[in-house]
Assembly symmetry: C2
Homo-oligomer: 376 residues x 2
């Protein structure tokens, strides 16, 4: 199988991720922070070491990194935990349903209203598009680092500066960027960063996190046992306990730590460069295929995540993906849970076929894919 | 290590759980329900087979089984998704913080009020204690199947009948029962069952589920991409998609399936009988130790989960657990995230030391534990 669906989850995982998972299943599957026996204490230390790795990578305090089931859960906790009745939110025109459905839910329940700021290939214009939507009650800006459909990146640093100037909390969905495009939350004035552990960070499925700045206080959407302040009828105020109720996915979290180790061993910049080289190759090949429609410029460093969307002949994106699947090529088709992005790029009727290589994708894979597509 | 903390998470896991996890990490770590390529389709089939296993075990439709990070997340989704403004909830006097903190949050936000019904060793009295708290606006009864601290079981079937008679939704937290005490949701009139995957069901940490009856509609607390109805600004109405936003913990879910296979291979009744034999042995041994205080009668079939709480000399429960940890015995001390239960049994000041054996605990382990305790 030639796997070009790393935007859904990365495959394969680096070898150290599997070995770390197995080690965790055998030796660190105890309830951390609840037991005083050495297996529990050692488990807690290992889990903490992953908080440090995530914290170091994105510039957060380790204890401010809270682990979740996935990025969606993290975004729900970040967004719903941030707003109070009457607040106004601004999101981008390319957001995933993990953001759009959340703000719709807040609107449906009469909690908050929202507006959508258009993406532009001109960074300053994108920032202006957000800024002009600010109202006196705007309390939150939520923006993805890069589109999961079209790859285009948002000017996170500029948006963060603008949000800070207006005293507005800034949440970034780094689902398709964390592990490829370097993100420094201090530099970018990010108040809360949400990311999956199983995409470009190479952890197992079932992992995600939100990382928050010291002065960010969140209401909780999940309450429960934390092994701390047990007589307190409310979630503790301190992190990560406040945001981590119930038992964690230990082996998943330790696999995420191994994924981050792998990224450091390769160098995040080398990974990004490799994937851009691959998307460059794919993009050129697709451009030469007269039956292909492309929607965005070629992915470029810091302007895009290594993701390409296209369509083929007059086929539905599903048909193209099915024909590719028959040819042992794994891609995703349809709306990729991001109808806003398809509305924006006028692909809502067909959806798109999405190509997401990883550091393990070679030029040879691209050749095979392009040849098989050519013969379709 | 003699591990008597299976109430936190079961250890060891059966061998087929580890092999199934590794197999899933290698072969079924694709995004199910999103891709049309064969690896994704096969993954979806495997995930569905675990819905069937859970559904069969507790008598739910497979598609009505939604997987979560843990039981706490499931309880939050079940409880918060059930209530509307002005509702009244009844919970038991032994509930875990995964329920108590949830209803407190609902009270704090002015959404719902709640009352606490006292447990009684007399089943009819327990039911009466719940029934007499019913008000015109009572919409929900939430009760654990068995106490995570003292092991005592609730008369779930009688409570379910009573709830049904009054047209009140009935949620059961089966955290310490699922996999040991047989639960038939039809027979017990359970509308929503919540359970962890990693305790008596032997799956990995990072797994849990809620299973709902066909006529149960829940508001969502987590919204996001489902790979279905992507243009819908709200979560789809159908299950499991409505309750499963974002990427699932595939290897965890498949490990849970393997855990259920293991239970069937042993026989749930044989497992329960074995664990009762072990708690019987432990209870008798503790009773003969003049320095031990016990709080409940000896665990008995269908009256208790195999859990014993005790204290030793005038030591804090933490001190006893620490001394046992030095002697390579793993137990948990303190409040076990269930202050209500400690208030009820008057152990709130000291907490308790908790013993939870599993099917893998032998009489020899008990002997060693009892001897080491005797010498302390």
């Amino acid at each position: 199988m030639i796997y070009l669906d790393n935007g859904a989850t990365s495959y394969p995982k680096p070898p150290n991720v599997l070995s770390s998972s197995v080690n965790a299943l055998k030796n660190y599957s105890f309830n951390s922070g609840r037991g005083g026996y050495s297996a529990s204490v050692q488990t807690a230390e290992r889990i903490y070491s992953v908080r440090e790795k995530v914290g170091n990578m994105f510039h957060f305090e380790p204890q401010n990194v809270a682990f979740t089931l996935n990025c969606t859960m993290a975004l729900n906790m970040a967004i719903k935990g941030s707003v109070k009745k009457g607040d106004h939110i601004i999101i981008s025109s390319l957001e995933h349903n993990a953001v759009w459905r959340v703000v719709n839910h807040l609107r449906n329940t009469g909690t908050a209203s929202f507006d959508i700021a258009d993406f532009s290939f001109n960074e300053e214009e994108t920032v202006r598009n957000f800024e002009r939507l600010i109202k006196p009650n705007t309390s939150l800006i939520v923006c993805m680092a890069a589109s999961n459909v079209f790859g285009v990146a948002f000017p996170i640093k500029r948006l963060g500066e603008m949000a800070k100037k207006h005293g507005i909390r800034f949440i970034v969905d780094a689902a398709q960027a964390a592990g490829i495009i370097p993100i420094d939350s201090e530099e970018c004035n990010i108040d809360i960063l949400c990311a999956p552990g199983h995409k470009c960070l190479f952890g197992n499925m079932g992992t995600g996190f939100l990382a928050v700045k010291n002065d960010v206080y969140l209401d909780t959407i999940i309450d429960g046992g934390t092994g701390s302040e047990s007589v307190n009828p409310n979630q503790p105020d301190f992190l990560p306990d406040r945001l981590e109720a119930g038992t964690l996915n230990n082996s998943g979290i330790l696999s995420l730590g191994a994924g981050i180790d792998f990224i450091h061993s390769k160098g995040i910049d080398n990974i990004y460069n490799h994937e851009l080289k691959i998307t460059d190759y794919l993009y050129n090949g697709l451009s030469q295929n007269g039956n292909v429609v492309l929607y965005c410029p070629k992915p470029e460093k810091y302007k895009s995540a290594p993701i390409i969307s296209f369509n083929f002949k007059d086929y539905s994106s599903e048909k193209t993906a099915a024909l590719l699947a028959e040819r042992n090529i794994a891609v995703r088709s349809g709306l990729h849970c991001a109808p806003l992005a398809h509305n924006f790029f006028k692909t809502i009727d067909r959806g798109t076929v999405r190509l997401c290589p990883s550091v393990f994708t070679g030029v040879k894979d691209c050749e095979i894919f392009l040849n098989r597509l050519k013969k379709m």
